[in-house]
Symmetry: D2
C-alpha cells in the first residue's frame, strides 16, 4: 500500500469514529483547505520570507495535506498520478529554455 | 524511497531546470499554495457541493500538492510523520465521544 | 445618502437586472470575496512588495469592495459604524505604547 | 470629505500612533486582507449558507474593509470611482440578457 493511501486510510478512520463524513462534502473540504492555507500564510505576515516559526509551519502543512488527501479521496484520485501528470503538463507550458530564471506566467513567456 | 519523496524529487528537478529556486522562498510558496486553494474553491462557487468539474478539481489539487511538497521540502518535513502526528493531536482535541456527529471547534465541545 | 450606500445601491441594481440574487447567499459571497482576495495576492506572487501592476491592483480591489459591500448589505451593516467600532476595539487590544513599532499579535504583546 | 476618506484617515492615524506603516507594504497588506477573508469564510465552514454568527461576520467584514481601505490608500485609489468603473466593465462583460439567471463566467456565456 502506498504512503498516501495509508494516510488517507488513517484520516478516513478518524472521521468515521466522529461521524464527520456528513460535513465533508467537497465544497466544504475545499473551503477548509483554503482556511488552513490562510493560517499557514499568517505565519509569514509582516515578516521576512524565512521568519516563520517552523514548528507552526509543520502543523499548518499537516492540516493542508490532511484536507487535500480527504478531497482527493472523494474524487478517487491517485496523488502520484495527478502530480506527475501536472509536472508533465507544466513542462510543456513552461519549456526550460524559455522559463529559465524568470517567474512569468506561461502566457507571458 | 517513499511516494512523496519521489514526487518531491521530480518537483525539485523541474524547478532546477528552470532556475526557479530563487523565487521559491517559503513565504511566496505559502502564498502560491493559498492562491491554488482559491482556484480550487472557485470551482465550487455559486454551486451545490458536488457540482464542481472533477477534471478541474484534479488539476487544482495537483497544484496544491506540488506547492505543499515543495514547502515541506524547505523545512525538511516528513509528510507521513507530520500528518500522523497531527491525527494524534486531533484525536486528543476531538475525543470521539464528544465530537461525534457535530462540527464544533475543539474549544466549543 | 452615504458613499457606500450609493455603491451598494448600484451593485444591487446590477444584480437585480441579472437575477443573480438567487446565487448570492452569504456563504458564496464570502467565498467569492476570498477568491478575489487571492487574485489580488497573485499580483504580488514571486515579487517584491511594490512590484505589482497598479492597474490590476485597482481591478481586484474593486471586486473585493463589491463583494464586501454586498455581504454587508445582506446583514444590514453600516460600513462607517463597523469599521469605526473595530478601530476602537483594536485601540484597546493594541495600546499605542505597547504595540508601537512591533507587529506582534495582541496576545503576544 | 467622503465616508471612505474619513475611515481611511482614522485608520492612518491609528497606524501612525503605533508606527506600523513600516510593516504595511502592499504585499503584506494584500496578504492580511486574504487572511481576514479566510477568517470570514471560517464562520460558514461546515454550515448552511445562513448559519454564520452575524456578530462575527460584522467583525471580520470590518477587518476586510480596513485592509482594503489601507491598500487603496497606498495606490491613491478613490473607492467610489474604482467600484463604479468595475460595475460598468462588468455590465459589458455580463450583458443582462445573456447573464440573466445564470452564474456562468463571462467567457462561458
Amino acid at each position: 500500500m502506498k504512503d498516501w493511501q495509508l494516510l488517507t486510510e488513517k484520516l478516513r478512520q478518524f472521521n468515521l469514529e466522529r461521524d464527520w463524513s456528513q460535513f465533508h462534502n467537497p465544497k466544504d473540504l475545499a473551503l477548509a483547505l483554503s482556511i488552513e492555507a490562510a493560517e499557514l500564510n499568517e505565519l509569514f505576515l509582516w515578516k521576512q520570507p524565512w521568519e516563520a516559526n517552523p514548528l507552526k509551519v509543520k502543523e499548518e502543512l499537516a492540516d493542508i495535506f490532511a484536507y487535500a488527501l480527504l478531497l482527493a479521496d472523494k474524487y478517487n484520485l491517485d496523488i502520484n498520478e495527478i502530480v506527475t501528470d501536472k509536472i508533465s503538463q507544466n513542462a510543456q507550458k513552461y519549456p526550460a529554455n524559455k522559463a529559465k530564471g524568470n517567474a512569468r506566467k506561461y502566457d507571458e513567456l
